[in-house]
């Protein structure tokens, strides 16, 4: 894959950008003013007066009036509409792309392919995702060309007339299968693109101390964020060579750097206007169509808008990682956990996106909020030829919670201990150390569990 080169490019251009920045600095800078800094040492669990107060959202009125302007509610004179042609094949080499028929259609203003993009790769941690696939397709939702036309319908029809010749390749969909590296999603790279390992205490000793060993495999499915507002952006390249993007992007600063990189231009020529977002949930934390729209606007001299269809939300935006989680836990006969071994396999789909962050957080939290002296947690993130997984509320925390709490229930059932009691016995308390050695403060797990049990009548339920 040519991506290596591009990654190297990035380092160069970022340094360049920093140097340009340096040139603009003043030779000397006034002493910054020093304010007395008071350290606020709030008591643990101290509530601010805001808790319990009734508050209204400052933007609530406009929402209710239908006056909030989301991207699709913004229009510019002469604006064009873009659509992307999706590969529809999950792994293939692109032999040729013929856009001539689309270009000849009345109403079509411009067609763009991956080869026209200065640095055709992006991503918040690894730059492994093409803006428009040029040499190879990594999953079926990959865009292979973009069209700007006077109406959405014409743009869509033009996409249908673009002819792409593929040489199909063997895909790999199962993350465990992908670990064998027999089929590589991004050759020559391994499918295992990120790993994490946390070790604490002596695992063997821990298991030896146990009266019972519990083993289980748990898995969760891929989940789409389904924000009510689909991803949307408008790009306007002005005659001065600057581009303005109105985007539903949640992280505009990060996006700006990524766009500058793909367009290979100084960051100060890129302006992003972040508007009110109609639901993000982690799915709008990276750029998607923005560089392509910018280039279409450059080609046409007109503003270009693109809004994902609901279908594109599912096939071409990020999702929540499916996890395969193996848990082995040693417990004494009275329910104290002595050791736990965890192995997580994350299905990252075709690109990294926010996988690294998800992997780290999932691994750290994988043992659960329990005092476990002897622990080994290993996590692997895998490429597969599927829609990429990225950030979604909790970055992997809900998946591991499903696994360790499922196992806690199994342990309680087998040992005939009340499930609540089992948790109370093992749960973190003030000053417990997390798997990575962090000493925890303001720990209210036990109080919360007790309160919750009391509120919904856990005991009366006959549990």
């Amino acid at each position: 894959m040519t991506d290596d080169v591009k990654v190297a490019d990035k380092t160069d251009s970022l340094t360049d950008l920093k140097e340009t920045d340096e040139d603009l600095r003043l030779p000397s800078v006034v002493e910054p003013a020093h304010f007395p800094v008071e350290t606020i040492d709030t008591e643990a669990r101290h509530q601010t007066p805001a808790v319990g107060q009734r508050a209204t959202r400052p933007d609530g009125r406009l929402h209710g009036l239908g006056q909030t302007k989301y991207i699709d509610d913004i229009t510019f004179p002469n604006m064009l509409f873009a659509k992307m042609k999706r590969a529809g094949i999950s792994s293939a080499l692109i032999k040729s792309i013929d856009t001539s028929e689309a270009e000849a259609m009345p109403g079509v203003a411009a067609v763009l392919t991956g080869r026209e993009i200065p640095v055709n790769s992006y991503g918040p941690s690894y730059q492994d995702q093409p803006v428009l696939a040029d040499e190879r397709v990594f999953h079926a939702g990959d865009p292979v060309a973009a069209v700007a036309a006077v109406t959405e319908q014409i743009a869509e029809e033009a996409c249908e007339r673009i002819k792409v010749e593929y040489e199909p390749l063997e895909p790999v969909y199962d993350p465990v299968e992908a670990m064998k590296d027999e089929i590589r999603v991004h050759p020559p790279h391994s499918n295992i693109y990120a790993t994490k390992r946390i070790k604490k205490g002596d695992l063997e000793k821990g298991f030896a101390e146990a009266d019972h060993i519990f083993e289980g495999v748990y898995s969760t499915q891929m989940i789409e964020h389904v924000p009510l507002e689909p991803h949307a952006s408008i790009a306007q390249w002005d005659p001065n060579g600057r581009v303005t993007l109105w985007s539903s992007l949640g992280r505009i600063t990060l996006g700006r750097a990524d766009i500058a990189r793909t367009l290979d231009m100084p960051i100060n020529k890129i302006r992003i206007v972040g508007t009110i977002v109609g639901g993000n949930f982690g799915g709008k934390n990276e750029i998607t169509t923005e560089p392509a729209l910018a280039l279409l606007s450059r080609k046409t001299g007109r503003p270009v808008k693109m809004v994902y269809t609901r279908e594109e939300e599912f096939i071409a935006s990020t999702t929540r990682h499916p996890f395969i989680m193996e848990y082995k836990t040693g417990v004494t006969k009275d329910g104290m956990i002595t050791a736990r071994k965890v192995r997580l396999v994350l299905d990252g789909g075709a690109y990294c996106s926010w996988s690294e962050t998800t992997l780290g957080k999932a691994c750290i939290l994988s043992a659960g909020p329990y005092n476990i002296e002897n622990l080994l947690a290993e996590a692997y993130c895998m490429y597969t030829n599927k829609t990429m997984a990225g950030a979604m509320r909790g970055f992997g925390a809900p998946q591991v919670c499903f696994a360790y709490e499922s196992q806690m229930d199994e342990i309680a059932h087998k040992l005939g201990i009340d499930p609540l009691e089992l948790r109370m016995k093992n749960a973190f308390h003030e000053g417990s150390a997390s798997p990575t050695g962090q000493v925890l403060q303001s720990v209210v797990v036990k109080d919360s569990l007790e309160k919750a049990a009391e509120r919904f009548g856990w005991k009366e339920d006959g549990q």
């Binding site: 508050a55 209204t56 959202r57 933007d59 609530g60 009125r61 406009l62 929402h63 209710g64 009036l65 239908g66 006056q67 909030t68 302007k69 989301y70 699709d72 509610d73 229009t75 319908q153 964020h225 389904v226 924000p227 009510l228 507002e229 689909p230 009110i276 977002v277 109609g278 639901g279 993000n280 949930f281 809004v307 269809t309 609901r310």
Partner: protein, 160 residues
């Protein structure tokens, strides 16, 4: 091209649009009434809900040509310059919306209900909103707001 003349929020409007144009596109693209949102374009989410001849409908599923001569109320038709509609007021007060994208559709669906049934039960409210998806809120506060607005509209409670 299809010629349509219809009443929108009490005003007669006309347009000439391609025959495949949906009512939603007609409202948004021809009349710049962007309060009705496009969330799915296939009748699943309810973000496009408007009232046609007194009944809430998904504007994405209706053709512009079908509303010729009919009466349409959109979210823009609820408030006056002086005052919000009681449902809008209640939604604001109860903080019933977060990102807000589903809001116009939900409020219109609620209005469609209260116009026909001024004293709905909680179940009836849930039923009336069942065609409106919201990914942010969990619906609880919307239901509370609709109950509150109903009380105000029935004159049992002073508007705040």
């Amino acid at each position: 091209m299809t010629d349509v003349t219809l009443t929108i929020n009490g005003e007669e409007r006309s347009a000439s649009v391609p025959p495949e144009t949906s009512l939603l596109r007609l409202l948004r693209d021809e009349f710049y009434l962007t309060g009705s949102k496009l969330g799915c374009d296939v009748g699943d989410c309810g973000a496009c809900t408007v009232i046609v001849d007194g009944l809430p409908v998904n504007a994405c599923l209706m053709l512009a040509g079908q509303v010729d001569g009919r009466d349409v109320v959109t979210i823009e038709g609820l408030a006056t310059l002086e005052d919000l509609h009681p449902i809008q007021k209640a939604f604001e007060e109860f903080a019933s919306l977060q990102c807000g994208f589903c809001g116009p559709g939900v409020i219109i669906a609620a209005k469609g209900l209260l116009d026909r049934n001024p004293d709905p039960t909680k179940e009836e409210i849930k039923d009336a909103l069942s065609g409106n998806l919201c990914r942010c809120t969990g619906y609880t506060k919307m239901i509370e707001a609709v109950q509150d607005a109903a009380r105000i509209l029935r004159g049992e409670k002073e508007a705040a």
